[in-house]
């Protein structure tokens, strides 16, 4: 009898392991995703409104509104699927890294030509993705190279156009995520996810690629190599937001990780310990633009932070991933 039960278990491993993911899928969409996109829409609207009455690059109100809206973008920047990837919306919000300097080129081109697109949100949305979003606006607000290009009037119109475009983009994402949330919570039918597991895997991918981006790109770009550190490649260094972005992204990823591991308290515990250690390591840095990477001491600390994020990635890949049925194929995971 025992033998028969054992054989049946071998034949039906998938059925035996199938779990009801509905509570987690509901929790992640309602508590992690939707409120963050609502906040993005709200802060982007404030930014656009303030820019209409105050387009002075040095204005505290404008810069504050910019910072608050950019903060809310960073907290959703790991959710790069579904409505966020339609029409390159995520890239239109944040064109970074910009390895070939397309953003300043696009802005200079608008200014030199006094491009009319700034007077129509629809027209501006059709211009180069590099001239849109928070990194374009950062140039206009913080980069001295743009303080005197063209006329003050055109620069003002350009700032307003970029802010209005961010708002339109944020509104579109927030709206579409409301509908898309149902695809995650109710897979099958019209949903691009055939099963709850596929929806869970999409969310897991958002966690792992979010961690990867913060480690390899947000920290990796300024770190460069020991012989050639690249502090000027730090993300949003002109507005001194580089370290802040690492913190905001980690806080958001910690929230997602905790929800995804809700059914596995041991894994949730491991993740929480690793995130807490990493956030502590980031807070103790006190290096807003990662300028310290140019010194051996500063570099050591940023490398330690990067290693700490990589430890989280290992826990996610080796402990959490397998509970979600992530296909650990020799080739399928490797990419080429």
């Amino acid at each position: 009898m025992r033998l028969i039960v054992f054989a049946a278990a071998l034949l039906l491993p998938l059925v035996a392991q199938a779990q009801d993911r509905a509570p987690i899928l509901m929790d992640v969409t309602q508590t992690h995703i939707l409120p963050r996109f609502a906040a993005l829409s709200e802060t982007a609207n404030t930014l656009a409104t303030i820019s209409q009455s105050d387009c002075e690059p040095g204005s505290t109100d404008l810069r504050d509104a910019y910072g608050t809206a950019f903060d809310t973008w960073i907290t959703v920047s790991h959710l790069r699927f579904g409505p966020s990837e339609v029409d390159d919306r995520a890239f239109a919000m944040a064109f970074w890294p910009d390895t070939k300097g397309f953003t300043p080129k696009a802005l200079s081109k608008h200014i030199a030509a006094e491009d009319d697109a700034v007077h129509s949100p629809d027209a501006y949305a059709e211009t180069s993705v590099a001239g849109r979003g928070f990194f374009a606006l950062e140039r206009m607000l913080y980069d001295p190279a743009f303080a005197d290009q063209g006329t003050a009037e055109y620069r003002c119109a350009l700032i307003q156009a970029i802010a209005a475009d961010i708002k339109a983009n944020a509104d579109a994402m927030a709206d579409d995520w409301q509908a898309y949330a149902t695809y995650l919570t109710q897979p099958g039918g019209e949903s691009p996810y055939r099963t709850q597991d596929e929806a869970m895997q999409e969310l897991f991918k958002a966690l792992s690629t979010g961690l990867q981006f913060t480690s390899e790109t947000r920290l990796g770009r300024p770190l460069g190599t020991y012989d050639k550190p690249r502090p000027k490649r730090a993300e949003a260094r002109r507005s001194e937001r580089s370290q802040r972005h690492v913190e905001l992204s980690l806080i958001s990823l910690r929230d997602l990780a905790a929800r995804l591991s809700a059914d596995h308290s041991d894994i949730a515990g491991d993740l929480e310990v690793a995130f807490a250690r990493t956030l502590e390591s980031n807070q103790s840095l006190d290096d807003p633009m990662f300028a310290g990477v140019a010194t051996p001491q500063g570099r050591f600390r940023v490398e330690a932070l990067q290693q700490s994020i990589n430890d989280i990635r290992t826990i996610a890949a080796t402990e959490l991933g397998p509970t979600l049925g992530i296909n650990a194929g020799f080739n399928s995971l490797d990419g080429d």
């Binding site: 890294p97 390895t99 397309f102 770009r221 194929g329 020799f330 080739n331 399928s332 490797d334």
Partner: protein, 361 residues
């Protein structure tokens, strides 16, 4: 580490020793990198029956390789972004030379020999400039002779055309930098192409897909005896879209794109790993390790003919008849018409590609 003196002594010895042909090592049909059960990485020589004729140790996980057209020698690349490749004598397993990419460059894991075996070409990333390069090496001394632009960003696979005078390069379009691992730095503005370049580096022709497909990274190639190029792609755009992952291109003509019906195409996760024409050239296939599928098409009509469900399938090449495939779970199989058969299951994990030895590409 081979010292220069040892290296030169080795070359002197090689020049007096008789040149060993592929026949002397059991006449393998393919090379493939693999992970063995003991965890070691090896470069294996395989025949069409799936018999492992040799399995030589590699310093790390291998990727693709290139087979010398005459001598039993292979250039095995480290996984990208690797900065070295090793030239292996497949008769003795000895490392004859080590190819090192210069400062500021790394290999992309693919290369091709000239028809007479005198030169070797490799795809490289000039990562500060974010531009592709083809390096040129003397295939006897394995000294670096020079380089030329690849005609795009992120060159990946490269083959010698049947005319023996032209290289076809898959410029995948994706910019990466070793400091940021495999993070893709330019997705919104990527512009892949297929470039035909003569052996002096002159770009003869470039094929770009329509603008709506600019995020379809052209990665892997197979070339038919008449010069028809099959190219496999990896989609970097919206995951709700499922564009074709296989294309055909003949010089001077427009490309043709081949896809399965949407319900099947949508299961591939936008990822094709390898492409090959079958031995008679009338059939072409792609492997899709993320969708655990192999898709077969009729070349003349472009019609999708068969789907085979194969877990982690990736390596693909022409067999005596039909096609040969390998999987990351250890299977070695043959496809003939609508039938797939696993013919051998050596106890190892096959890496992404089956590299043809001899005339077949």
């Amino acid at each position: 580490m081979t010292t220069r003196r040892h290296f030169l002594a080795g070359l002197a010895a090689a020049s007096v020793a008789p040149v060993r042909s592929w026949a002397s090592v059991g006449a393998p049909d393919f090379l493939a990198a693999a992970q063995y059960p003991d965890g070691t990485y090896r470069l294996a020589g395989l025949n069409h029956q799936g018999t492992v004729l040799f399995a030589l140790p590699l310093p790390a996980r291998g990727h693709a390789a290139a087979a010398h057209p005459l001598k039993a020698q292979a250039v095995a690349f480290a996984r990208r972004p690797g900065s070295f490749a090793v030239v292996i004598d497949c008769a003795s397993g000895r490392v004859l030379a080590r190819l090192q990419s210069p400062q500021g460059r790394h290999f992309y894991g693919h290369g091709a020999f000239a028809a007479n075996g005198a030169r070797f070409y490799a795809t490289e990333n000039d990562y500060e400039a974010g531009e592709g390069r083809i390096s040129v090496w003397d295939a006897d001394s394995f000294e670096r002779l020079g380089e030329f632009p690849s005609g795009g960003v992120g060159p990946h696979d490269m083959r010698l055309m049947p005319d023996g005078r032209t290289l076809v390069v898959a410029n995948g379009g994706i910019e990466t930098h070793p400091e940021t691992g495999r993070t893709k730095l330019n997705i919104p503005v990527m512009q892949p192409n297929l470039s035909y370049i003569d052996l002096n580096g002159t770009v003869l022709e470039q094929m770009e897909l329509p603008a709506a497909l600019h995020k379809n990274s052209i990665r892997h190639l197979s070339v038919r005896a008449d010069g028809l190029v099959g190219f496999a792609m990896q989609w970097q755009g919206e995951s709700t879209q499922c564009p074709a992952l296989l294309g055909l291109h003949a010089r001077g003509e427009r490309p043709r794109l081949l896809a399965a019906p949407e319900d099947l195409q949508s299961t591939l996760q936008g990822y094709a790993g390898s492409v090959a024409f079958a031995s008679d050239g009338t059939t072409i296939a792609i492997t899709c390790p993320r969708g655990n599928a192999l898709h077969q098409f009729n070349v003349a009509s472009g019609a999708f003919t068969d789907q085979f469900g194969l877990k982690d399938v990736c390596g693909l090449g022409a067999g005596d008849e039909g096609l040969i495939f390998t999987t990351g779970t250890g299977a070695f199989g043959a496809i003939n018409g609508p039938r797939a058969t696993v013919v051998a299951r050596p106890d190892c994990l096959w890496d992404n590609h089956l590299i043809p030895i001899g005339s077949r590409a």
